[in-house]
């Protein structure tokens, strides 16, 4: 087949012009987030003493950090499917989250007597955290993959990892309002592990599913 033949076929397939990736993304993500929220309400729900803890610095830090991660990765995920859109600065900004968490750990170790370090690190519900965050992120993960497949990520495995990170951040924001363990020590150990698990799954799946 000659190149001019191929171009003729492409032109014949020109219409309908597909919706922009951003719209595909929003259309897929909105129901997925609602699904995750529904799952959260049915299975977990907010902790009973949530209202009393809203102003608690440990809870506020945990919740806002998860929100920050969600915002930062969201920006990256929106860029990652579009060729030629720079992603480096957006990816570097992610380091803000572990830096803040590291700072919070130092403060926590400073204000907390050493005999409480281990109990706070272990917390009361580590296993639930490890199960809940990935479960809540499953719907969003599928939605993000669905839209990124319409996109053109330059590095499929990294794009998959970012998709996993974003989905896990959604799960973490929701789970943070259920989980009674607010210490940065707990967050650093178990939230990180749960989020890394989803990001790892995303990276593995991305290497296969996001090639184009």
């Amino acid at each position: 087949m000659k190149t001019s033949d191929l171009i003729r076929a492409l032109a014949a397939d020109c219409a309908p012009w597909p919706k922009p990736l951003r719209q595909i993304f929003n259309a897929a993500l909105l129901p997925a987030i609602l699904m995750a929220f529904g799952l959260y309400l049915v299975v977990l729900g907010p902790r009973p003493d949530l209202a009393a803890h809203l102003a608690d610095p440990r809870f506020a830090f945990k919740f806002l950090l998860a929100l920050l991660l969600l915002g930062l990765v969201g920006d990256l995920v929106l860029r990652i499917g579009q060729p030629g859109v720079p992603t480096r600065a957006s990816a570097l900004r992610l380091w803000l989250v572990p830096l803040l968490l590291g700072g919070a750990i130092l403060v926590e170790l400073f204000v907390l007597p050493p005999h409480l370090w281990l109990p706070r690190l272990i917390g009361s519900n580590a296993l639930l955290c490890l199960v809940s965050i990935p479960s809540l992120s499953l719907g969003p993960l599928i939605a993000i993959f669905f839209s990124l497949r319409r996109g053109a990520p330059e590095r499929p495995a990294s794009a998959g990892a970012a998709a996993g990170l974003f989905a896990a951040a959604i799960g973490a924001v929701l789970y943070a309002t259920h989980c009674p363990d607010d210490s940065p020590l707990f967050v650093a150990a178990w939230y990180t592990l749960a989020i890394a698990l989803v990001a790892g799954i995303g990276a593995l799946a991305g290497g296969r599913l996001l090639r184009w």
Binding site: S4, D5, I7, R8, A9, L10, C14, G84, A152
Partner: protein, 172 residues
């Protein structure tokens, strides 16, 4: 690209045609830089055109066109390097004479894409052939293949997506 976006197929065809010489030059440069024969440049060009087409929803109408195009072309070039990296595990001496005869003409008939068309399912193959090679319009192809226009459109679109997939998974 913006006119094409508004549904102007003629503008789209003109755009792709005008991009092709630059894509071809870039493909040759890329293959040469990797120490590969540029006889495969046309395959890279066609694969890039397919990617431009199938990923056109990723072009943001407000952003500059150049970086978008360059990123897609680079991605497909890297793909080609990878494929050739695997291919060069074959004894290259056998091909040396063929490769040396590099009088590749523009708009050459390429073996790869033709082979891939052959391996498409029958209705997709018929639609792609009628429109690409015989130059039929959608309506003419529909009449000739006794399909509806909608079915021809779908078969053509799936056929083109299938071609891109076959390029990608081709590890020969």
């Amino acid at each position: 690209m913006r006119a094409s976006n508004a549904g102007d197929a003629a503008a789209y065809e003109r755009l792709l045609t005008e991009l092709t010489p630059a894509l071809r030059a870039a493909a040759r440069r890329g293959l040469n830089a990797a120490g590969l024969a540029d006889t495969d440049a046309e395959d890279v060009v066609q694969e890039t055109l397919l990617a431009i087409h199938l990923k056109r929803q990723t072009f943001d109408g407000n952003a500059p066109f150049g970086p978008w195009l360059a990123a897609i072309a680079r991605h497909k070039m890297i793909d080609a390097w990878r494929r050739h990296g695997r291919r060069t595990k074959l004894p290259i001496d056998d091909f040396a004479e063929v490769l040396a005869d590099g009088s590749a003409e523009p708009d050459l008939i390429t073996a790869d894409v033709s082979r891939h068309v052959e391996s498409l399912p029958p209705s997709q193959r018929a639609a792609v052939r009628a429109i690409a090679i015989d130059g039929a319009t959608i309506a003419e192809a529909a009449a000739r293949l006794s399909m509806t226009s909608g079915a021809v459109r779908v078969a053509l679109h799936r056929g083109l997506a299938g071609l891109a997939r076959k390029f990608r998974t081709d590890t020969l």
